[in-house]
Amino acid sequence: MPLDRDPAAPKRSAAPVSAGMRPRSRTAPLRLPAPPAAPGPGPAALRSPAVCPRAAAPAQQCAPRPQTRRVPPAAPPGPALPAPPPPRRGAARMEPPAGAELSAAWNTLSTALVPPAALGLAVPRSDAAQPLKDAELRAALDILRRYDLHSVVEEWFVEVLQMDLQANIAPEFWNGIGQHENTAEEPQCSSLLLDAFGLLRRRLDPYLNSLELLERWTEAGLLLGTGAQTLQEKVYTMFKAILFFSTTKSFQEMIQQFYGRTFRIYMRQWKKGEEGRSERESSMSEDSDPEEGGGDSALCTGCSSKREQCWCPKAMEQFQQLNDILHRLHLLERVSADAVTTILHRMIEERMEQRCRGEYERSFLNEFQEWIEKVIGWLSRVFLQDGPLARSSAEASSTLKRWRCHVRRFFYHSYASMRIEELFSIIRDFPESKPAVEDLKFCLERTNQRHQLLSSLKSALETRLLHPGVNTSDIITLYISAIKALRELDPSMIILEVACEPIRKYLRTREDTVRKIVAGLTGDAEGSDLANELSKADPVTLENGQESDDDISEPGDWVPDPVDADPGNSSSKRRSSDIISLLVSIYGSKDLFINEYRTLLADRLLHQFNYNAEREIRNVELLKLRFGEAQMHYCEVMLKDMADSRRINANIRDEEEKLPEEERPPFSLVAVILSSEFWPLLKEEKLELPEKVKEAMEAYSKKYEKLKAMRTLNWKYHLGLVDLDVELADRTLSLSVSPVHAAIILHFQTKSTWTLTELSEVLKVPVTSLKRKMTLWLQQGVLREEPQGVFTVIEEEQKDQVEKVVLIDSDEEGDSAMASQADQKEEELQLFWTYIQAMLTNLESLSLERIHSMLKMFVMTGPVVTEIDLQELQGFLHKKVRDQQLIYSGSVYRLPKNCN
């Protein structure tokens, strides 16, 4: 994060100094005037000490190099010199006034400001190195000021520093670091690191001291200052530029290892402190934190070396020292910020991976918030010096604030990414995963990952859900979960709308979608989501076109839709839609659902002959609230038919009981009497029942006709249920079977052996389907097939006979009494056909659109509205063309000639 290196800094180490630090305009005047001509009377005077240095030099016990002496002191401004600036240590004070005075002042100053080694001088003995008093330096500076030379002091200082850094300090430092290659052990490695930095600090300390001094002088107005950048800034930038303008990989690794280690140790110590403070807390954290708290293992968790060799305290000490050094050199951000950032990111990710992945049932936000505070504690160790060196609190808190902000943001971002990645599973587990959804919502509000969420969820849905291997009911279940979860996540429902569009699209392609939804709505399973949803109070009516944006209750609560919302849908409609309305809207029409429910209801009513319609009545009432009264009218009539039938049956039975014993019918016939117009189209199957049954039915019809004048009954022989006992020689079976089965077995009463063809003739049932029906009796062990196609009653069961397993055709179970949707549609379209024929007879040829609009005008306005859309009509007409009932040419339809 904080990368202080000037991005424009050139690669050559010397370049930054001349380009970045010293304005060219200033360099030029200094460089151009010949040294002698420079500051007024100075040159000549100055030359003297240079010429006769020898007298002074021995006195000072100094060994100045002759060749450097020759450099005219008139050019003290080091910057202009290619070699280290002229050393003029010593001699000065002995010189006569004027030039000598100046020279002496310069020497005093220069030796005080920079370490002798940088000037190419031998390192003085320790007694000579005692610091000069401030007053003396001030005096020297005053002399320079008098000669107007004080302006060059700072430039010169910078130049010397640069040279020294380039020539000596940097190589030395990197050499020290380079030894790392030979040390494999981590503790050695970190002490090496510390040594290298310690050396660096020792080398740079003199400069820093002088820097402070110069800075003080500048503040006091004694020096001119260095333009926009203060001298300090310049110097620190130079450190970074020369020392760290490029770091080696191994150095970065060292730094990272070092900080990573201390981070771990710190976290462990913190935990220990925590444990000491409160036993209860520790046991809690121990539970949740086995991998970090495990104190009994042979290895120290902090430094991961053996307990007896634990160097944690030492590491922390080193840590403190290194931070001090870096801080002193202002290199902290440059050297460690990258490493610290990397470590924090890695730690957050690791921790998240360990604790949160796959765990949706509790919220992690607070836990991590606490943990981040701990981490901030570590950061404060790095970036703020504890103790006396502490910086001003304002600066400190702002640095920490910055880091806290960064760490939190990073946490939110990666946590959100992780949850987004897992969103499919989270949705699947909803509502158990509600905490995870809430966490994600919280994070999403702080990061900009909506788009990522949408695309990731979409692709997860497509790969994991929307393929042929998944049951329709599972898709619907997941869709319902998604509705619930995403509504939690985004109350404006935009995410839901966008992300789940593929589900809706896919469901539209499945044939059994509507059936599954309707079955779910009115299903038997008590815990069914949809059934619960249906019975919720205050349902949303599925009227179209009633929504308006004005009816939002509180204007103050209004929240704009996110930018990715589809502007075509009004937000109030979106927000108010619930699970059922969303499911129903998959197909865009509720008629489909009502028809499907009708079929389902009819099936249920005709398969349960106990007339227990209470639940269905409740369902119809609930659906009426949703779909409106008019739509459910047919279903109401169906339920009424059931009630009426019961009354009529009771009536007729009463009448029968009045009859004398012998006139009573041989068995009780109970009828379900339908109002055919209101029931879905029933499947037509031919079946001839035995005489006895038909007689009973006719008798029933007679009684009905007596009861209801001018009405009669049309029996559906193949529908119904027969309770019968089959009495065989050694056993009796009690069964409930369909009329076909009953008819079959009744025929075996008169003749114990039938061939399939004979039976088929008598029953008027095609051989193939009859054969399927026979399996029931084969399975029950009442009949046997021997040889193929010949069935005989088994009067006495052979116990020893191996039981024959006969598989019942599976579609027997799913047999619906209703004609299929496709058949019904065909029937409806047949109605149009007569109109179309009439149209084409009169108008000869018509285009598809024309036919459609005419049908719309004349046919679809009737009381029984049958709708047909353009595609359906086209499909229908093309079928007619294939059947050669229609001719299609030049995009118009006409009737074939012979058809009239």
């Binding site: 068995f667 009780s668 379900v672 559906k716 027969v722 089959v726 029984v864």
Partner: protein, 84 residues
Amino acid sequence: MRVRVRTWHGVASWLWVANDENCGICRMAFNGCCPDCKVPGDDCPLVWGQCSHCFHMHCILKWLNSQQVQQHCPMCRQEWKFKE
């Protein structure tokens, strides 16, 4: 072998014994009901005229009430008289 049927649950649909499918007035099926009714059968019966045409009772009554002078069968224009 003997098969004893205990109960036979049959399914039947009722229909009017009429010589037409739809009511000549409302064009709805006789077995359905007139546009004003919700429930067919007893609640929306048919009536026959002496001309042997039949209609939903509600339909023909409405028709007859709208006739100012004489009451005719809407189909054959004979004078309308209820059968029986």
